[in-house]
Assembly symmetry: C2
Homo-oligomer: 483 residues x 2
């Protein structure tokens, strides 16, 4: 007991020092608390625009004044230096890498020029420059390229927009894909600005306006990253072919019923379908979608700066940021995860290559059969098989990241493509055998893009010169894209 009394026998100076030290500590804790609250309020403030944004404001810079972090990261999509570990890069010339594509698309503008898209920040520049827009195109081709599209559609209506001439709309479309394509300027909520997606949902009896926020984090991407076609010879009305479902087979059945033909193949005379980029369709057939992920989870993962957690708007391959995307869930090393992706892609790629080889041969053998007197009636089944096989192959290879998003489904589709292309060749071999044609039919040298383009009779120098002239005469008057 006596010990307790001893403690209170310290000198008064001790108690003064204790008092002052306590005061200092409490003051510092107060400062720290204020800093936390300030950062918190900063993150709230960010939800409210400092300068109000006008309806249909196409300028990304104007939005960026209010949302500097999102704008800065969006602008980083200008940087296309990332070369993916599987040999991808933003400057891939697909026709150089896979010259067979030139033959597969003979008679269609894709055989002239097909490069990997360089990302949202370059959309306007890239569509101005491609040789595919050297042939007359409708306004529909602008639909996914610019924040000016919602503005123009609001002004003149979607139907008028689509059926305008591509070059007539050129001067009006200068702002690259950006903020208002996906966001409401008042609330910053995600919103759908493109009628084609809303209309596709309506035709299926689904209400897109009832989507959750997590669903919207994919659906804003699905405004463009989908399979589509231009409906009507004059109308060129942008339409998503999902009325029977969105597998390769269901979409083909839809196209067959409306007898949709994108082009007649220059060599084989087949009524072809060109797949666009069914990214969203294929993503939905894979495990990441099935486990509840949205596009933005991996392509725009959250990032923290100071007290602010925000969505990184540098939309890119998750392989550019494995730590921020894959490793949020997967506990394996970056090297191992990238290896897993590559393995899937290489296996699917092997099957795609087989389908390409068979299809090239099928187109050429069909030509030889026709030249030796095969009747349209005899070739009908062959045309049907080539159309179906190339559609399936294209559905997979045109899809960005399909062989990662849903590798088993992609392999399944390609297995079907191989079977159908080979079946066409079996029928052709019987026909050619009976027509007395020596087999195998000799194949041309299409080992480079230049050789393949020469083989299908493209005068690339002339096409380039014409495009150069068009750029000087017309595109130059549109002004610089708003970069």
């Amino acid at each position: 007991m006596s010990g307790d009394q001893t403690k209170f026998t310290q000198k008064p100076l001790f108690y003064w020092l204790l008092f002052i030290a306590t005061a200092v500590v409490v003051f510092l804790i107060g400062l720290f608390g204020a800093s936390v609250l300030e950062r918190r309020s900063e993150s709230y403030q960010l939800l409210q625009p400092v300068k109000p944004i006008a309806d249909w404001e196409p300028s990304n810079a104007a939005w960026g004044e209010n949302y500097p972090r999102e704008y800065e990261t969006y602008r980083a999509t200008a940087d296309t230096s990332f070369a993916s570990p599987h040999g991808g890069s933003a400057t891939i010339d697909a026709l150089e890498r896979y010259p067979r594509l030139v033959v597969l698309w003979a008679g269609y503008a894709f055989s002239r020029d097909y490069k990997q898209g360089r990302g949202h920040y370059h959309a306007v520049e890239d569509i101005r420059n491609t040789l595919r827009t050297a042939v007359p195109q409708p306004g529909t081709c602008w639909s996914c390229k610019s924040t000016d599209v919602p503005r123009l559609m609001n002004k003149i209506g979607a139907a008028e927009f689509y059926k305008a001439k591509w070059e007539d709309l050129g001067p009006e479309v200068v702002n690259n894909i950006g903020c208002q394509d996906c966001h409401d300027p008042k609330t910053m909520n995600l919103r759908i600005t493109r009628p084609a997606l809303i209309e596709a949902y309506q035709r299926q009896g689904k209400k897109i306006e009832e989507s959750t926020h997590q669903q919207m984090r994919s659906q804003v991407c699905a405004q463009c990253h989908v399979e589509y076609y231009f409906k009507g010879k004059q109308e060129k009305y942008l339409t998503f072919p999902w009325d029977e479902g969105s597998t390769a087979e269901q979409i083909q059945s839809y196209y067959d019923k409306i007898e949709h033909v994108d082009w007649t193949h220059q060599i084989s005379g087949t009524p072809m379908i060109k797949a666009q980029h069914p990214d969203w369709e294929i993503f939905q057939m894979g495990i990441h979608f099935q486990r509840g992920l949205a596009c933005a989870d991996c392509h725009m993962p959250y990032r923290s700066e100071g007290g602010v957690k925000f969505t990184n708007h540098k939309i890119s391959s998750p392989l550019e940021n494995v730590a921020g995307s894959c490793q949020v869930c997967h506990r394996e090393s970056e090297k191992e995860l990238i290896g897993n992706v590559q393995e899937r892609q290489e296996k699917v790629r092997q099957l795609a290559g087989m389908a390409e080889e068979l299809l090239v041969k099928a187109h050429i053998e069909t030509r030889v059969a026709l030249d030796h007197g095969a009747t349209p009636e005899q070739i009908k089944a062959v045309h049907q098989l080539i159309r179906q096989a190339q559609w399936r192959w294209d559905f997979v290879v045109a899809s960005h990241g399909g062989s990662f998003h849903a590798p088993i489904e992609c392999a399944r589709i390609l297995g079907n493509a191989i079977e159908k292309a080979a079946e066409a060749r079996t029928i052709l071999a019987g026909l050619l055998g009976r027509l007395g044609v020596e087999l195998p039919v000799p194949m041309p040298d299409i080992s480079t893009k230049a050789k393949a383009q020469r083989y299908i009779g493209l005068d690339m120098a002339k096409l380039e010169a014409e495009k150069g002239d068009f750029k000087k005469r017309v595109i130059a008057t549109w002004g610089e894209p708003a970069l």
Copy 2:
């Protein structure tokens, strides 16, 4: 200060009660501790046999006296009532379900009888009963069926064991696959009892004795669940064909170099390879192996009873015990996980069906071409393609669970099988066309097992009668399997 003194002013009775209560609580804690220690010591005791087990002891019951939990769960493999959600069950007659297999294996014993294995507990009974052992077989066929095999090999040597007649060894082989196949009787450590696996590792310069325990939890299974062949016309020496690697392509290359032929196809005359069950090979190409799992993790997951944690020896489909296997890692519902498995299997199955259809046609068209005067020289490339295609297809479908273990690899292999079978048919169509044969060649009705067996000329009633007679004359003298 004075309060402290107050506390000690309670009556003596209070302290006596406190003392007694403390004594009671301490006693109960002591009892609980003793119970924990007892359970702990029980689980240690279990590692030491109560009754020592002799070297090469084949009787599972003898081992079971020491390890009742493992033995009870092992005996539960007798129960084959589980029907997997994808329509599998232990009593599937594969030829009933897929009658095309009869034609694909024409001329080989598999076309007579091919049922799903019923599990380790039924191994001896099942091999006695199958029609495949009605044709003369070597001792090698017993290699994976019984705990008597290590005992006999120790006695007469592996080489003598293999080249004995199957029926001569029959009386000696009565204990079903069990304890000593995988365990050391002294230490219970996992051990390899079959020379073929050890020899295959040695030829590749690998030391299986340096394997970790986790590796051994797969490798004991890999003694049997692998691709193999019988080397030497007389020797019939069990050999794993992994010298160049264990992909479908690498194993085929190995077989081609040694000109290995399992049988000559009765219809097409093709020199064929029959795939066995490359379960371990395909498992290694899938994500579960890549993430460090062993066979036992999913097929024999741990279980707790009282204080004892032990390995469930009811080796079975993980779908029979999703909670104990998949859900240890995956946080999805049982229904969703089973759905994921089914989706993979159905997609791979679609491609397998295509390959089967093409191969049946290729065999029959080859026959027609030969009957119309095609020369062996003309048919050589066709034979080569059929051999390669059917090997690939068989590699996938013969593998237990392959379409789950490595679905992308299986789809890739089947895509290759489809391409090669179709290429054979393309060559055949050209040949047949030139030979003036009307195309398409009519196909027989093989829509049931009975029709398909009749088509290839099997007199099943006679074969069944002969087998029945053999069972009465010979097998009946071997005694009952030790169940």
